[in-house]
């Protein structure tokens, strides 16, 4: 059974109905890409998975989002452990105000891993997973803010991986990056999908075509269509999806 399942999920900001009756299952160990025009609720859905949406005021929800069978919106859900299951990449990479090493070590540290040899090993391991190790191994203790944007995004990926998530959430992770850095992130995603379930939001159709195994198309807060990438992107059923895929609406 897939470990991410959305079940009749609705979300409101005050009186605005943002997400409407979302009902979709995310396949394991694949790259699922959520596409759709700006303002259709892609990011809101993504941030509902790990309940980062709670940081906004006046959010109301009904329905369920199940991660490993546990409803993340249930009253007694443990937010910290839910979020620990999901790494997050934001549109704009945000390294923490500390060194490269400390950025990766931050998660393990707050979850109670002590200083020492195995932390060094962890940092190296996850920087390699994020394809950043070779570029930073000589300056692990330099401030992370000095890295280029593309490197910062891979550092954020390593930082997210270091808390041992099962799922990687990515919110337009390449929109601030140059084409080369974008390609590296995409390559890294394809490498990582062997071990992680990846859910990425993008408004770049070509990117969806390059990396997606499964596609969810959203429009005005609803999931219009979802299915294997080849089907949704090449041969969509619904007219709106066709129009979007063919660039009639964007």
């Amino acid at each position: 059974m897939p470990h991410v399942k959305v079940n009749k999920f609705n979300l409101y900001f005050g009186n605005d109905h943002i997400l409407k009756d979302i009902d979709v299952s995310i396949p394991d160990k694949q790259i699922t890409v959520i596409i759709g025009p700006s303002g259709c609720g892609k990011t809101t859905l993504l941030k509902s998975f790990n309940r980062l949406i709670d940081l906004q005021d006046n959010v109301k929800t009904d329905g369920r989002i199940l991660i490993d069978g546990e409803d993340v919106f249930s009253r007694n859900a443990d937010l910290c452990s839910i979020r620990k299951k999901m790494g997050l990449l934001l549109q704009k990479p945000y390294p923490l105000p500390m060194s490269i090493y400390d950025n990766v070590a931050y998660g393990p540290r707050i979850h109670g891993l002590k200083k020492g040899g195995d932390l060094d090993g962890l940092v190296e391991h996850y920087l390699k997973e994020a394809s950043l190790w070779d570029e930073v191994k000589g300056r692990l203790h330099a401030p992370a803010g000095n890295l280029s944007l593309g490197q910062q995004q891979r550092l954020c990926l390593a930082r997210g991986l270091a808390v041992e998530p099962e799922i990687i959430l990515a919110d337009e992770p390449t929109s601030a990056l140059d084409p080369l850095s974008t390609a590296r992130i995409e390559k890294t995603f394809i490498k990582l999908k062997k071990s992680y379930t990846i859910i990425a939001v993008t408004h770049i159709l070509r990117q969806a075509k390059r990396i997606a195994d499964y596609v969810i198309f959203m429009y005005y807060g609803r999931v219009i269509e979802h299915g294997p990438a080849s089907k949704v992107l090449e041969n969509p059923e619904k007219d709106v999806t066709k129009e979007y895929v063919n660039g009639v609406i964007s």
Binding site: K84, I110, V163
Partner: protein
Amino acid sequence: MKGRIIEEKIFTLLMAFSSLAIFASLILLIGSVIFKGAPALDLAMVTEAPSGGFYLGKKGGVLNAILGSFFLAGGAVFISLVLSIPIVMYINHYSSKGSLLNTATRFSIDVLSGVPSIIFGVFGFSIMIILGIKASLLGGMITVAMLVLPVMCRAVDEVARLVPEELPESVHALGATRYDVIKVSLRQILPGILTAIMISFGRAIGDAASVLFTAGFTDEMPLSLLQPAATLPLSIFFQINSPVAEVQNRAYASALILTAVILSISLSVRIIASKMKKKVVK
């Protein structure tokens, strides 16, 4: 067409002149303090306390007031820092933006930062009467802490609000608690906090009205929290009121010392803050 160009030239000139005026007033102020104070400034001024007959032109210095001012401002800044960090972190990270407590806190900070310092002095004094405490270094510290608390809160809040929302999002996404988020935010705004400390210190060390009744004045060195303590602004005030010309000159020398302290504080703020900013994520 020509009229518009002339108009622009006139106003450009006026704006440049105004900008020059503020710089000129700084130079004039420092210049006059140096001009009048430097001749009376000697080693004894900064190494000795007033001896008998100091206010009639006899020997001594204002070391007691220099130390008193540093202790008082240091203590007051410490107290207000300890209070302002939790206040600012609470209104930025815990209470929701429209909540009553949040609005009331920001409103109080705004109003309190406009209250004249003599009001704080009177308020501190009346509290001390109720509690039966006499004018003392501690009383002065607490009163001045009240005076600079809104200044400090505002300065810290200003930088805390500039922290991009990506920071709490990134840290929360790792499974952190709000308290973890606060710790990372504090690292991010450390240069701003240092600036706030220095600004508050400058405000605290220069204020006379709030310490007039609360810290009192004495010729003794400030060695106890519970004894009255001299401060530079009051020391200047008492010296300039003297009919003796020599003592009046020493008032200018004391003013020079106070100005030098404040000037070096604001210069070091700039240097430290610009150095630390390089380490912070933009």
